[in-house]
Symmetry: C2
Subunit: 345 residues, 2 copies
């Protein structure tokens, strides 16, 4: 059980999410009473993290069905939820799986959806533990690692993907230190990852994104470990913007660059990274934070939420089904991952 | 003449610097009445930028001499000023040149130092124009460029180094667009470079440091141009932290990575980058800005002010004496640069 519950269901099917935009200064839960609230919470990043978005997609459909479980209403809800974060493969899959469950439910679609979401959450926690154990096996005793963005309990609802590996390595006594990037513009590393690392008692150091390449050049870290938002059939991986630069530095200095993501994050329907849609976010996220502006008014901004790291730069991709290694076309297929994240026969 | 005066001398030998920590929201000049105020202004980055630090080193010695021009006092002042920013080659050189002037001055060392500093400033402006013209010649019509940190008038007292090239290219109608990184942790790109670009009417876009690699991968920029804080004999270059990551991305995507710096920034006494001292700054610059904290209290921070880009990744180094190209040992020597920045015979 994670020390942090990013999502909880209180009696009376009351769905609440921990408002991550307020961390680390405040822990406040927000009640998602309807589909509008669900979409707003996703769009404004109160709830974020690729695998957790899969859960919120499923729970969001349960919330929608509790109001109106008719087919047209549920399809409209599904479209609205998916449209909030177009790059996030898990979100769309969580919603689609929920839609299928509702379509097959006899009599009580809302009940079936709440049950499905709850079982999905349990399964996610089990998958995180499996990934963590596999990923930790790739580290050597005494290794220090660098991670980016937030991929812990706050991102998955389990113990996390990349941060789950780091936690498992710490628990096994293998990890010496974890370095975390700030992760501009939304600072998930500084706000969320450092908070989780300190809660878990893992020795941790924060750095500006600008210092990552020289940190790697200095020999202080022996691996870079990140999560993923979408993985194409050839291993090209979309993840939080900044990941690609870390992969370039890791490759230059010959240290492993590891991706950790559940099988739902793989999208074999995308042949390569160029087919992954990249979300561009509002320009005012750049040049300021939390109401403080540090750039002059009126300038333009380039603000992609994600970048794409070519599979060739990725040493290994760890999923709950096993570890894929280059060349990824075959090794990903060998994990039994087919379109829609279903296991191939 | 630059639209912005980062340093000015008012009647009565009153040295004032524009407090760059308050930009872009406020333009306020600070009077540097004595050596303590000079050191504080450098340490707290009210005045910053490698070439401008050379000028402030010279003017700071003039301020010191106006109080007490004795040899021991001037040597103590020189040590105090140099100790404020140990990586900055220009600062130490400006101070050492001033010390030499004072040693040779007959009768009125303070007067000689004020005159020297003023002539030094005039020469800096001429050098900037020369570098700008040389650097702009390396761009092709329609090029968009990416720059890092602040290297404009605010950094040099002239029109700037890298930003001087960008300005000259804009004036020549060659430049299509300038992208500027935020430059965490002190955000000189967001605060200062965007302010200068908008003042100059240059089409400009701000990006988080994390987005630089994907910007380059997207083909939106045709060159990366930065300044330098110290250049070793083999071309290895210390510059604002984050520069090295930009150089890796530029090399990966085959676009030019250009360094623009006056000859005083070269340090032939440093054989390579490993001999360049790197300043580590206070950890509280990371995880927050301007009094706003976004990381939990008590975490450690990795906060080097500079990183080192290997000469092999640098397409060309532009100085006021000409353009050096790899291999740099010979091409830098051919510019006539010897230890202490003096022209070789």
């Amino acid at each position: 059980m994670a020390e942090v519950e990013p999502l909880r269901v209180l009696p009376g099917r009351r769905l609440e999410v921990l408002d991550q935009t307020l961390l680390p200064s405040e822990e406040r839960y927000v009640h998602l009473a309807g589909i509008e609230a669900v979409c707003e919470a996703i769009r404004s990043l109160r709830v974020r993290g690729a695998p957790l978005l899969g859960l919120i997609g499923a729970y969001g459909m349960a919330v929608a069905a509790s109001t109106d479980a008719s087919g047209p209403e549920l399809r409209a809800a599904a479209e609205a939820i998916i449209a909030t974060r177009p790059t996030a493969a898990d979100l769309a899959k969580g919603v689609h799986r929920a839609l299928a469950v509702a379509g097959e439910a006899a009599g009580d679609p809302a009940g079936a959806l709440w049950k499905f979401a709850s079982e999905f959450a349990r399964q996610r926690a089990v998958e995180d533990r499996a990934m963590a154990a596999l990923g930790a096996s790739l580290l050597r005793p005494g290794d220090a690692v660098l991670t980016h963005c937030n991929t812990g309990a706050l991102a998955t609802g389990g113990i996390g993907t990349a941060l789950g590996v780091i936690r498992a390595a710490h628990e096994a006594g293998v990890l010496s230190h974890c370095y975390a990037t700030e992760t501009r513009p939304l600072l998930q590393g500084a706000r969320l990852t450092m908070w989780e690392l300190m809660k878990l008692g893992i020795p941790a150091t924060l750095l500006p994104d600008t210092a990552a390449a020289t940190l790697i050049a200095s020999g202080r870290v022996q691996a870079v470990i990140t999560g993923a938002d979408r993985i194409a059939a050839n291993g090209d991986t979309a993840n939080k913007v900044g990941t690609y630069g870390l992969a370039l530095a890791a490759a230059r200095h010959g240290i492993p660059f590891l991706i950790v993501a559940p099988s739902t994050t793989f999208d074999p329907a995308c042949p390569d990274g160029s087919a992954i849609p990249i979300e561009f976010r509002a320009g005012d996220e750049v040049g300021g934070f939390a109401g403080v502006r540090w750039s002059p008014a009126g300038g333009g901004a380039f603000n992609p939420a994600f970048d794409v790291t070519p599979g060739a730069l990725i040493t290994a991709i760890v999923s709950e089904r096993g570890i894929a290694r280059p060349p990824y076309g075959d090794s990903i297929a060998a994990l039994g991952i087919a379109p829609e994240g279903r296991r191939t026969p």
